[in-house]
């Protein structure tokens, strides 16, 4: 069947879009880490592979004038993991990228491929949801931008219309200069998450929470967030009760499944604990970074 599959590697977006438009069985190929694995398992057999490798500007990570960072769809996980131009909450992308699979997977896989596949146990979907990133899309009808929240629609389903591709992910600037932590619980090294949480935390001088964003993955068909529960913690010191309330709010929204990585019940129990860890560690990182120890240490560094 291999032999019947065609291959194209155009060097313009227009050409990619017209190839995809002409053939509904065509698929675009990024790193191949997911698509080729599925082809090898006999789960899919596209008629045409349209490689995005030669598209100009898709592999780079570029700062924007307003402090946002645009990560090209073809940026490899390893590139994002090593990128030091992220500021504040933006860095959650690098933290998540470092936890994806293994070294060779990180040299192959791309952010565009990962979010387009939209596995809720994957790491980027959760991270870009926490970062309030916006997904840039190009398609036959032109370009558009969709917030991460709306991009992930269901299990393995995104807001992409047929023939559309992701061109990049724009991560907005973070005025609060939050510190981040990506907490990933797996059965074994390099596995997809059983439960993961991405946390971005900034603290005020007095140790009160100044900014908080938390997304959880592996517990629902898409990454989940509870903005009102995040808001409820702002302006107060971080406490175990506060974290428990946030965890409970997320657990309410969760809709986990039973699979080889754990039962739904186990995931539900892990969720608040993993969220708690993510937030505590992000807060501790914030404290360590700002060196503002006095008064805030106990609450921030390790919640009693």
């Amino acid at each position: 069947m291999d032999h019947a599959m065609r291959f194209a590697e155009p060097d313009s977006i227009e050409e990619v879009l017209s190839l995809l438009a002409a053939d509904p069985e065509a698929r675009c190929l990024a790193g191949g880490a997911t698509l080729v694995a599925m082809m090898n398992a006999g789960l899919t057999a596209p008629s045409l592979l349209v490689s995005l490798r030669k598209l100009p500007g898709l592999a780079s990570i570029d700062p924007q004038a307003d402090g946002a960072v645009r990560v090209g769809a073809m940026a490899r996980h390893a590139t994002v993991a090593a990128h030091d131009g992220f500021a504040g909450a933006q860095a959650i992308l690098a933290a998540a990228a470092r936890r994806i699979g293994h070294p060779a997977i990180r040299t192959m896989g791309t952010i565009g491929g990962s979010i387009s596949h939209a596995d809720p146990s994957a790491d980027y979907p959760t991270a870009i949801t926490a970062a309030d990133a916006v997904v840039e899309i190009a398609g036959p009808e032109g370009a558009r931008a969709v917030p991460a929240d709306e991009f992930f629609v269901d299990w393995l389903e995104t807001a992409l219309a047929p023939g559309e591709i992701v061109t990049g992910v724009v991560v907005p600037p973070d005025a609060t200069d939050a510190a981040v932590h990506y907490e990933k619980f797996t059965r074994a090294d390099g596995d997809f998450a059983t439960v993961a949480a991405a946390a971005c935390v900034a603290l005020a001088e007095d140790g009160a929470v100044a900014a908080l964003r938390v997304a959880a993955g592996g517990v629902a068909p898409t990454p989940i967030r509870r903005r009102e529960a995040e808001a409820a913690l702002i302006g107060r010191p971080l406490t175990e009760d506060g974290l428990a309330a946030l965890g409970a709010a997320l657990a309410d929204l969760s809709d986990p499944i039973d699979d080889m990585r754990g039962s739904a019940d186990y995931r539900r129990r892990l969720l608040p604990r993993i969220v708690g860890r993510a937030v505590r560690r992000a807060a501790a990182a914030f404290t360590a970074r700002s060196g503002a120890r006095s008064g805030t240490g106990p609450q921030a560094g390790g919640v009693a």
Binding site: M1, D2, H3, A4, M5, R6, F7, E9, L29, G31, G32, A33, V36, A37, M39, N40, A41, A45, P46, L48, L49, S51, R53, A78, G101, H102, P103, A104, I105, T107, M108, D189, G190
Partner: protein, 184 residues
């Protein structure tokens, strides 16, 4: 549905494999692993899972470790591929390969070529990694025989040997030192 050879779908491909430029043709969905093993007879890269999960097929693409089983061959146009066979200088093993043999890190050997490529990439980028870095670089490479201990020890020994050689005054650049330096 048709499995017959569709010549139209063959993609011309120029690729440098183990230092030799090749002009080939491959299927549109053919993987680099199939290309290496079945078209070029380079069977050093092994097919342990065909799913990216075992690491046995790992080769270097432009110097970076990738899973050959997940790499569409046609995307390798004008790029450099290195396999375990390509590290040999005649019958002489590379320092990493030699260290694995000497260190008792090779049992059934099925994982060894993939491990070798990951370690080669690591030591080129980071000549003196510690044990934790070595384990990190080898993560995702499954070995069912050794329990990994001797593989990590061998990698550290290879780094040590390379550093010794450097200290012994091999003036040549990194890559040359690797190629030439092992003369007995």
């Amino acid at each position: 549905m048709t499995a017959e050879l569709d010549e139209d779908a063959l993609v011309p491909l120029r690729v440098t494999v183990n230092g030799r430029a090749q002009a080939l043709a491959c299927g549109g969905g053919e993987t680099l692993l199939t290309l290496l093993r079945e078209r070029l007879g380079l069977t050093g890269a092994k097919r342990g899972c065909n799913q990216g999960l075992c690491g046995a097929c790992t080769v270097l693409l432009d110097g970076q470790p990738v899973r050959a089983c997940l790499t569409v061959a046609a995307t390798c146009a004008d790029r450099r591929v290195e396999t375990a066979e390509g590290l040999l200088r005649g019958a002489r093993l590379s320092p990493v390969q030699q260290a694995l043999v000497d260190g008792g890190a090779v049992q059934c050997g099925f994982c060894t070529p993939g491990m070798t490529m990951a370690l080669t990439a690591l030591l080129r980028a980071e000549p003196r990694p510690d044990a934790a870095r070595v384990r990190e670089a080898l993560s995702g490479h499954l070995c069912r025989c050794t329990g990994y201990v001797k593989i990590v020890e061998a990698a550290l020994a290879a780094a040590e040997a390379q550093a010794q050689k450097g200290a012994d005054g091999a003036a040549a650049g990194d890559a040359d030192a690797r190629a030439e330096g092992a003369a007995p």
